[in-house]
């Protein structure tokens, strides 16, 4: 019986197949000839996908000044930032030149893994910034990121709704709760808060309105030094306060995420947003909601306000960048008052650490006034307490969610965080 294909036909088939595959392999176009002038392109990335238009406007000023450097802004969605960026850096990709980083443990980690370069000597204008701030963005004996922005935490409120019910901005917690009760009885959505994006509770909430309850900066320092434990009654009290707020959350809060919270406030469907930081200013202005801001109410009248003003975005230089010189030029420009003014004008709500006199928009200025008259603190778990897993950040986030969902009592929540931290943190 003859075969399906004779040997000759098989040979022909093979030949054709190989020819086609080889043709495809070599068909990938040849590289274009390099241009005559030294045009370099640097790619900046961060988690601020909301700022694309603003950052491009800022970078346009830089590109006018330095016409042979093109700056592209390629941000990554904030929930995927860590994963995507690390994957790129671990594979030694040169895709990103300037990368957005958080201070403290984050930059220390990145430095340890060899992702970023020391900037001392490379970026001359670093000396413009206060040393105390530079220390927050240092690791291994050198500054590893240019501090770009800090943000303040506070509470946003809808001015129209407040006016409708004759409500005044509260100064004490009791006043705040009475406002909440009034609104709830009127059938208004009081607080745009959900339990899905847990950072809004543990990082944007607890150290925000909670700082006044657990003792703010002094307590944070004591916790970092290991002098007090997380089972301290002040932390338990703060969890209890969180639990008492749940009744004012928008119904269905169990499935509401951060974007939904922002949308609720932007469309005027909720009276207040308590996890909001000053980074929301630009978005709220663009949405046209008539909003105001007040610092978290103090426990008792006369208390000194503990305001969470956290060091946020910094720019580092990737070790795998192929355009170090151009990137360093960019970072040098970032460390100038000119950049600071541009940044604060285009992205209101982010405050530069650069000393100088700046003109800000009214909302941003009012926040800055509060900043200047309060005791400033950072996010509770940002420094030292999140260096190893289980990180303080994750523990606090999870504990807050469980309190909100009713799975933990305040005491259990504090225990949960304490026992997680105790597995690696040197408490005394």
């Amino acid at each position: 019986m003859r075969g399906i294909l004779s040997l000759r036909k098989t040979g022909v088939f093979l030949l054709v197949f190989l020819t086609i595959s080889l043709a495809c392999a070599f068909a990938g176009g040849s590289k274009e000839a390099a241009p005559a002038q030294t045009q370099s392109t640097i790619v900046v990335t961060s988690w601020r996908t909301e700022d694309i238009a603003a950052v491009n406007a800022i970078n346009a000023v830089f590109m006018k000044k330095y016409p042979n450097i093109t700056v592209k802004f390629d941000p990554i969605k904030n929930t995927e930032y860590s994963a995507q960026l690390q994957t790129a850096l671990e594979t030694k990709s040169d895709r990103y030149d300037v990368i957005g980083v958080f201070p403290f443990g984050w930059v220390e980690n990145y430095n340890k893994n060899g992702y970023i370069q020391p900037l001392n000597g490379l970026v001359k204008n670093l000396s413009n910034l206060p040393q105390a701030v530079l220390d927050k963005y240092s690791a291994g004996g050198s500054v590893v990121a240019v501090p770009v922005a800090a943000v303040a935490h506070g509470i946003y409120y809808n001015k129209d709704i407040f006016a409708k019910y004759n409500l005044k901005v509260p100064e004490t917690w009791a006043e705040f709760i009475s406002i909440c009760d009034t609104l709830k009885q009127a059938g208004v959505n009081v607080i745009a808060q959900g339990a899905v994006d847990k950072w809004t509770l543990g990082e944007g909430g607890f150290p925000n309105w909670g700082a006044n309850f657990y003792g703010g900066e002094a307590t944070r320092q004591a916790l970092m030094a290991g002098d007090i434990k997380f089972t301290d009654p002040r932390f338990v009290k703060t969890f209890a306060v969180l639990k008492s707020l749940v009744q004012y959350f928008v119904p269905g809060y169990q499935s509401i995420d951060y974007v939904a919270m922002q949308q609720l406030f932007k469309t005027g469907q909720a009276a207040m947003m308590i996890c909001g930081g000053s980074w929301e200013l630009a978005g709220f202005k663009a949405a046209g909601v008539n909003f105001g801001w007040f610092p978290p109410p103090v426990q008792n009248a006369g208390d000194k306000e503990q305001l969470c003003f956290l060091s946020d975005l910094g720019y580092s230089l990737s070790r795998y960048s192929k355009n170090t010189e151009a990137a360093a030029t960019y970072l040098n420009w970032v460390s100038t008052p000119e950049f600071a003014q541009l940044f604060m004008t285009n992205i209101p709500g982010f405050y530069s650490y650069m000393p100088g006199n700046y003109t800000l928009d009214p909302a941003a200025t009012s926040i800055l006034k509060a900043v200047q008259s309060s005791v400033l603190t950072e996010r509770l778990m940002a420094q030292k307490l999140s260096d190893k897993p289980p990180t303080g950040t994750d523990l606090l986030d999870d504990a807050c969610v469980k309190v909100v969902l009713g799975e933990f009592t305040p005491e259990q929540a504090a225990d949960y965080v304490q026992s997680g931290l105790a597995t690696w943190f040197p408490f005394k």
Binding site: I4, T87, A195, V196, V250, T391
Partner: protein, 307 residues
């Protein structure tokens, strides 16, 4: 058959020629990585960088050391729950529809229509349903209130008891087509004389379905369950788009897929880097679970069915 054997021998080189590329591809990209994964689980490292040999330490951490073991067993429970519900849905509803459609005309029209949802990418489906189920703007809650069933309104994806079943229902909607087509094919391949004989003996529709169709479809149940098993133990897209990568709320929708994603690529904004060994250990455990599950499925569905 003599003719067949001779045909095979004469064409052996052609057969090998046609099989070789696919076999090579399959081995290189599917078989080898499985074993390499097992190898990697004995090391520690970050992303693609291996640090050092740690033996069974990763497995020890995965099973015995909190918070790793709590995360693991939580994910195990959620994954199992998702699988059980999905397998139950996929083995019943498509079957009912198949039995009905097999008696009706225009069966091929229904085949196409019911198959279309499974062609929509899972990410898109999850996202769409997330919008539909949104407590503030979602269509579902508005519709329920409109027909005066407002009492049924719940935070669907946020409720600890409802989140996984709801996601399973979404999965059931997507994965309806293939089981339906398989069941329909299975029913159509049953010898009609048997059914005629049963009808003559006085069996009603239900009895025919119960006593003849279902037992003969046992292999199809096996296939559907196998597909559900493989698909769901490693399920990621659906959870990621309907909930998020941390299994919110409070890890209630955390499954093996999302746990693996976090272990391998690092988690949110804490700069915590990946743990290659732990992720590989988890992947190895997932592989074993699917293997054991599949063996059980095969044994159970071959026992009585006529092949």
């Amino acid at each position: 058959m003599q003719r067949g054997q001779r045909a095979l021998r004469g064409n052996l080189h052609v057969i090998i020629l046609f099989l070789a590329p696919t076999l090579l591809f399959y081995t290189a990209f599917l078989i080898l990585p499985v074993f390499d994964s097992l190898r990697l689980s004995l090391y520690s490292g970050k992303l693609l960088r291996i640090d050092r040999f740690v033996g069974l330490a990763n497995f020890h951490r995965l099973f015995f050391v909190p918070p790793f073991n709590t995360a693991f067993f939580n994910a195990f429970r959620n994954t199992l729950e998702l699988f059980v519900i999905l397998a139950a849905i996929q083995n019943t509803i498509p079957l009912v529809f198949a039995v009905i459609i097999s008696r009706v005309r225009f069966a091929s029209f229904f085949r196409v229509v019911f198959f279309i949802p499974s062609l929509v990418p899972l990410i898109v489906v999850g996202f769409l349903f997330k919008m539909i189920l949104n407590p503030v703007w979602g269509v579902l809650d508005k519709a329920l209130r409109f027909i005066h069933l407002g009492l049924l309104v719940r935070p669907w994806l946020g409720d600890a008891h409802l989140a996984i079943p709801v996601i399973a229902l979404i999965g059931g909607w997507v994965y309806f087509g293939l089981p339906f087509v398989l069941f329909l094919a299975g029913i159509n391949s049953i010898d009609h004389e048997m059914i005629e004989a049963a009808r003559i003996d006085g069996a009603g529709e239900i009895a025919v379905t119960r006593r003849i169709i279902i037992p003969l479809l046992l292999p199809v149940f096996g296939i559907v369950t196998t597909l559900a098993l493989i698909g769901n133990i490693t399920q990621f897209d659906l959870i990621y788009s309907a909930a998020n990568a941390w299994g919110d709320p409070a890890y209630r929708t955390d499954v093996f897929g999302t746990l693996f994603y976090r272990s391998m690529f690092g988690a949110n904004n804490t700069g915590i880097t990946s743990d290659l060994g732990l992720a590989a250990a988890l992947a190895s455990v997932m592989f074993v679970i699917v293997l054991v599950g599949e063996i059980l499925v095969l044994r159970f569905t071959r026992r009585r069915g006529a092949s």
